[in-house]
């Protein structure tokens, strides 16, 4: 049924474009996108664009996750700092982070590094908030149990707080992979010589909306693949849940 809906949509799109119900110049059509895709794939620069965006996303996502994890562990460790930082996190969380992208790119530089930093900025605040919330919701009696065994704070962290947060960590990762994509594409819109975001901007500037549409389709496919990867990791890691 889910696949059926997609196929039905594609067929309708194709028919509507062919019969000129809608203007194929503006909305493109599946066959035009497909032809363009083959052409770009043959030229050899499509996989380069994909490679650039995917690697920026993965690097940004990984750095953002590691950094976010470290910061949330720090906040869990120190109640004092958690209280100090709390209002800043709340404000940063409601701020649309891609608004920061232009500044970041000026500060960090208009290359891969700027794009990666903007990916980190978009995803990290939500990561920190979710992870920290999960850490502090660790069952107090379980902490007490480990204390009766004479556990140190570090042992409580590694034996209890981190493993019990794994389900939440994974759902955080699922969210932040999407946010990293937002950061990367925003960055590529602003400055880039390659990447899917670059293709989309280029396509719209030369008014070849087929390119824009192809970029979007490729993005959708890539996010679906990454989501699937996360889901399969989740399934493997969470074999202890019902």
């Amino acid at each position: 049924m889910q696949v059926g809906l997609l196929i039905l949509g594609l067929i309708l799109w194709e028919i509507a474009a062919n019969l000129k119900w809608i203007d194929p110049f503006i909305v493109s059509s599946p066959s035009r996108i497909w032809r363009l895709f083959l052409e770009y794939a043959k030229n050899g620069n499509l996989h380069y664009h994909i490679f650039v965006s995917v690697s920026e996303t993965i690097v940004g996502f990984t750095l953002g996750t590691v950094l976010g994890l470290l910061i949330s562990i720090g906040l869990w460790w120190s109640n004092y700092w958690a209280k100090v930082v709390d209002p800043y996190l709340v404000i940063l969380n409601s701020l649309p982070k891609n608004a920061l992208a232009p500044i970041i790119i000026i500060w960090v530089g208009a290359g891969y590094s700027g794009i990666i930093v903007s990916a980190i900025t978009v995803s990290i605040v939500v990561s920190i908030m979710n992870m920290y919330r999960s850490f502090i919701s660790t069952d107090g009696d379980k902490i007490r149990l480990l204390e009766t065994f004479g556990a140190s704070k570090f042992q409580i962290l590694t034996k209890l707080v981190l493993p019990s947060s794994i389900p939440d960590l994974i759902s955080t990762l699922k969210i932040s992979i999407g946010l990293s994509w937002i950061g990367v594409i925003t960055g590529e819109f602003l400055v880039s010589k390659a990447g899917i975001g670059y293709l989309i901007v280029y396509g719209s500037q030369v008014f070849k909306l087929d390119i824009v549409m192809m970029g979007i389709v490729i993005l959708a496919a890539l996010s679906a693949v990454m989501y699937k990867i996360m889901a399969s990791i989740e399934k493997r890691v969470l074999k202890w849940t019902e």
Partner: protein, 258 residues
Amino acid sequence: MDNTKVVEINNLGITYHTLEEETEALKNINLDVYYNEIIGIVGPSGCGKSTLLSIISGLIKPTLGDVKVNGKKVDKPLDNAGYMFQKDQLFEWRNILDNVVIGLEIQGKSNDEAIERAKDLLHSYGLGDFIKSYPYQLSGGMRQRVSLIRTLLLEPNLLLLDEPFSALDYQTRLAISDEIGTILKKEKKTAIMVTHDIAEAISMSDRVVILSNRPGTIKKIFNIELTCSGDRTPLKCREAQEFRYYFNEIWKELDIHV
């Protein structure tokens, strides 16, 4: 019964301070617990039963008086006491074997020999087929048994049980309290058990301590002497003719009005 004192509680009192007021939770508690004895503590809710256990285990410091365990004053969390909670507190992400050895792991005592001992205990208490299972695959009673084994593996000479069966349904509760009472006697453990189930306290304990309303003081101590045929197990104790007598006396002492 052995005359060695395992726990000595002298003039113990605790007062909680908040910004607005102070609450005296426990007052003038004096109690000696002897080797291989099971003490049941009952009392109205909020009388400080669980606080008393936390003080004995060293997790909370008393305001007045002191507690000695094996002749040594308690001033930090005990490492030779086993604590059992209302819920089994098994770690969902660890299989049963890894769950029972967590205490050993924390104390750096986990080695092949200890793991073999853990397996033996699991086998002898009917959990041999579940060594590689995860907690969600076990019934409530089995989970509580796993949690007892986790406690026993550390070879505590004192067990502190904080309403250990109250999260179980009634039938399981009867069966598991019988089983655990028998295990405690067999392994020659000394135990202090907080409960609000009078029948459970009578059937499992050698002495039942009644705490009063806040501030909790010891109102009365009953020596439970039941005539049971054969081995004394908690379930058989419930058939003893004195059972009803103790039940009524304790109920009267508790003085509960609703």
